[in-house]
């Protein structure tokens, strides 16, 4: 899919559910996460790994950014998970509960070894790190810069709040700091920031409010737990026609300023500064990635 792929929505599909594995490709999610971790019962770890490996190798869905979430770094499954995951060549591997940069470095090395053994181009597999504890949040900056492979950090709110002894609420004040800390680390490292799931799949209004906050804070996307959440989240991350029109006018004004060697550029009587230009470029990039004709 390449680095420019849209990452508005990441949908988990359990490696233990052949039906979900097959169906997941038909929804509108940008990123499809084949899960070997929490959704797979211990007795089915081998079967799930085998299924996901073959699915990606022979039934890879077109037009999706494909991710495998492996089991925990300290679990007994991690070696076999990485071996299978690297060899079926997803776009990325998602590592759960990352807390230290050294953990990322170790995984990076292990992936490199497997890539070499399998004759896969070095560095072709990207890493997503799930930040799911206060330690992960505190070390987010080092984690985000620990390896060239890291392209995204994803906040996991349930485990994070458990580690904090916080009470999880729909309003989400208890994760407000964590969201910002992860986001700042991502911006520092130049990687994508993916927000936590909204757990109540029956509360569409709640999801709309939550994803509005996600977007306004500056996140690039959100993990979803159910296909019914995808369209709402995608819509929130897709610029509106009005936003696109405004962004175009901003950039046209900037170009005109450059042509005419103007120091300061104005639009509708207000000055266009560098952040405004940056936001306009981001809006148009998002619109382009979402397939909107401009």
């Amino acid at each position: 899919m390449g680095k420019d792929a849209l990452k508005r929505t990441s949908l988990y599909a359990s490696g233990a559910s052949p039906v979900n594995l097959l169906q997941a490709r038909f929804y509108n999610e940008d990123c499809l996460v084949y899960d070997l971790e929490d959704s797979v019962p211990l007795a089915e770890k081998d079967a799930a790994r085998h299924l996901v490996y073959n699915l990606i190798k022979y039934q890879r869905p077109a037009g999706k950014y494909v991710i495998v979430r492996v089991n925990g770094i300290y679990s007994e499954y991690i070696d076999e998970d990485l071996e299978a995951a690297v060899r079926c060549r997803p776009d990325a591997i998602r590592i759960p509960k990352v807390e230290y940069a050294k953990e990322v470095k170790r995984i990076d090395e292990r992936i490199s070894e497997i890539e070499e053994a399998a004759g896969i181009e070095h560095g072709s597999i990207e890493l997503w790190c799930n930040i799911e504890s206060y330690l992960g949040v505190l070390n987010a900056q080092e984690i985000a810069t620990a390896s060239e492979r890291v392209v995204a950090l994803a906040l996991g709110a349930e485990d994070f709040t458990a580690s904090m002894r916080s009470t999880r609420t729909k309003a989400g004040a208890e994760i407000f700091y964590a969201r910002n800390a992860v986001l700042m680390a991502c911006r520092f490292a130049g990687v994508e920031a993916v927000d936590a799931v909204f757990s109540d799949i029956n509360d569409v209004e709640g999801l709309k409010n939550d994803v509005a906050l996600t977007k306004n804070l500056g996140f690039d996307g959100k993990t979803v737990v159910h296909p019914r959440q995808i369209d709402v989240v995608n819509a929130a991350f897709t610029p509106s026609a009005k936003e696109i029109r405004y962004a175009k006018r901003v950039l046209e004004a900037v170009e005109e300023g450059k042509r005419e060697h103007k120091g300061a550029v104005t639009l509708d009587g207000g000055m266009i500064d560098k952040p405004m230009e940056l936001r306009a470029r981001t809006t148009l990039a998002q619109a382009k990635a979402a397939g909107i004709e401009m």
Binding site: Q23, F26, P227, R228
Partner: protein
């Protein structure tokens, strides 16, 4: 010989003479008068038509071995009339009957299979034979082939003399002692008696069976006393939980929701989606979800429908109550809310199945329908539909009004997933052909929407979908995708014996189902 859709047919099957489907509505019945078994009958001398038992009524009708009996299926899986009548018939030693209900529901204890095995029934004609009977028939239960015809073809068969009914047994949730009856009220209300009208009008003898005898005259009345010979009160005509429990709920299956949403979007994109349009959605999970999404699209556009048609669910009644539909024309009521709605709402009306779907009369309501939603087990790359047989050839459903709706509606939309379990639903060639592809406008799946290039409104639809930014896929691509997931299934092995004949709306044979070869 082969019919116009390339299906291989024998010339004759038992005593049944095959007229192959030609796609042109060929039926010489149009040159003859309507026939009926109904005879002028002098009013009953006793002043009542009430008889104490079913046996008494059967004796009074003069039912004899070799005759034809009929039932309606408006009580669905909750029906307790058919088994009571057949048991009484058996007790009287009557055999060799032609059993011609509007559809065979899956009734148990005793099942229809037992009445075939003991020779009470030797021929069956219906719109579907789901369940135990269907499986047994495909295993070679019967000597004569079962004749399956869609809802619209049954009134035609009756009025043209193909299906002459000797005794019609009509279950009703309320009746008076003179035969005025209805399904709209009473503890076991089933709603519309749509399928019973044509039987009442044309059978030689008509017996109304109820568990709710009301004071004369019964009001409301669906079938009038002038058609009824006898009335019998029994303890129970049905199981209300199975007649239609509660209101149908919106599915939570994300795949079905996605298909439903796409279907509603496609309808909303059509130029025919304007004030006063008409629709029929149906009762499956996808159909109900489509109804709900359609209601939203109508609200967004600020338009109302002139009528909804066919089998009715509570969701349609909700739309009526919101003022979104002017007339709800019910040939059948699929749940308890819809069943009671006819008596309670002026614009919710009971219609005769013939008015709904029979093409051989001076116009049916399907002729005026804009959008019809259909379910299917399989669709092939020629858009032909299989609504009868499943992945291993077993009988899964009935024809219902599927072939009628496909042909009658301006825009007929088939909704189905590309893959069910490990079975592809979009295939190169359907196992059983029930509805000709030329009558199907579009197929909506979770993997995309395909328009039928051979449909009469193809250009219009293509233009409308493209204008709305709806991405279209070729049916061949959907088929390829399905097979890439499931692989190509092994063909179902059959014997030479024809177990069932499938008639099209005009009475020609569109396909046959052979007996399944068991290992």
């Amino acid at each position: 010989m082969k019919n116009a859709l390339g299906r291989e047919l024998p010339e004759k099957i038992g005593s049944y003479k095959v007229r192959p489907y030609s796609g042109t509505y060929e039926n010489d019945a149009v040159n003859r008068c309507v026939v009926s078994n109904r005879k002028p009958t002098l009013r009953p001398a006793s002043g009542t038509k009430l008889l104490p038992t079913l046996e008494d009524a059967i004796k009074a009708t003069g039912l004899k071995s070799g005759m034809t009996i009929s039932f309606h299926h408006c009580f669905r899986e909750g029906d307790k009339i058919i088994s009571q009548v057949l048991t009484a018939v058996r007790n009287l030693g009557i055999k060799d009957l032609r059993f011609a209900p509007s559809a065979v529901v899956n009734i148990k204890n005793p099942s229809i299979v037992e009445f075939v095995k003991d020779g009470t029934i030797t021929r069956i004609e219906a719109s579907g034979i789901r369940g135990e009977l269907g499986d047994a028939v495909l295993d070679g239960l019967m000597e004569e082939p079962v004749i399956l015809r869609p809802h619209g073809a049954r009134p035609r068969a009756i009025e043209s003399g193909d299906l002459m009914i000797d005794v019609a047994f009509i279950g009703a949730s309320a009746s008076d002692d003179y035969g005025n009856c209805t399904g709209q009220i009473g503890p076991n209300a089933c709603g519309s008696l749509g399928y019973a009208f044509v039987d009442a009008y044309n059978a030689a003898q008509v017996v109304v069976i109820t568990d709710n005898l009301v004071e004369y005259p019964c009001n409301p009345v669906s079938i009038s006393q002038q058609y009824v010979d006898y009335v019998v009160k029994v303890d129970e005509i049905g199981d209300p939980a199975k007649i239609g429990a509660g209101a149908a709920r919106m599915t939570k299956n994300p795949r079905d929701l996605m298909i439903a949403k796409r279907t509603a979007d496609a309808i909303a994109a059509s130029r025919r989606f304007v004030e006063g349009f008409s629709f029929q959605t149906g009762a499956g999970a996808i159909a109900i979800a489509t109804t709900i999404y359609l209601s939203e699209r109508m609200e967004e556009k600020g338009i109302k429908a002139s009528f909804s048609l066919g089998g009715t669910t509570s969701n349609i009644i909700d739309m009526y109550k919101k003022g979104q539909v002017r007339v709800v024309a019910c040939s059948q009521s699929f749940d308890a809310v819809a069943a009671r709605a006819i008596a309670e709402n002026e614009g919710v009306i009971e219609i005769d199945n013939a008015v709904y779907s029979n093409p051989y009369q001076k116009g049916c309501m399907l002729d005026k329908l804009n959008f019809g939603i259909l379910g299917a087990l399989e669709v092939d790359t020629d858009f032909n539909i299989n609504i009868l047989t499943g992945s291993s050839g077993e009988m899964m459903a009935g024809l219902g009004g599927g072939p009628d709706v496909a042909d009658g509606a301006d825009i007929s939309i088939v909704t189905l997933p590309v893959v069910r379990g490990r079975t592809p639903s979009i295939v190169p060639r359907v196992f059983t052909l029930c509805t000709p592809g030329t009558s199907v406008a579009m197929v909506v799946t979770e993997a995309g929407i395909a328009l039928n290039p051979k449909h009469k409104y193809y250009e219009e639809l293509k233009e409308d979908m493209q204008a709305a930014g709806i991405k279209l896929t070729a049916i061949e691509e959907l088929c390829k995708l399905a097979l890439s997931i499931t692989g190509v299934p092994k063909p179902i092995e059959t014997t030479d014996k024809v177990a069932a004949v499938i008639e099209y709306r005009d009475g020609t044979v569109i396909d046959v189902i052979h007996q399944i070869k068991r290992k």
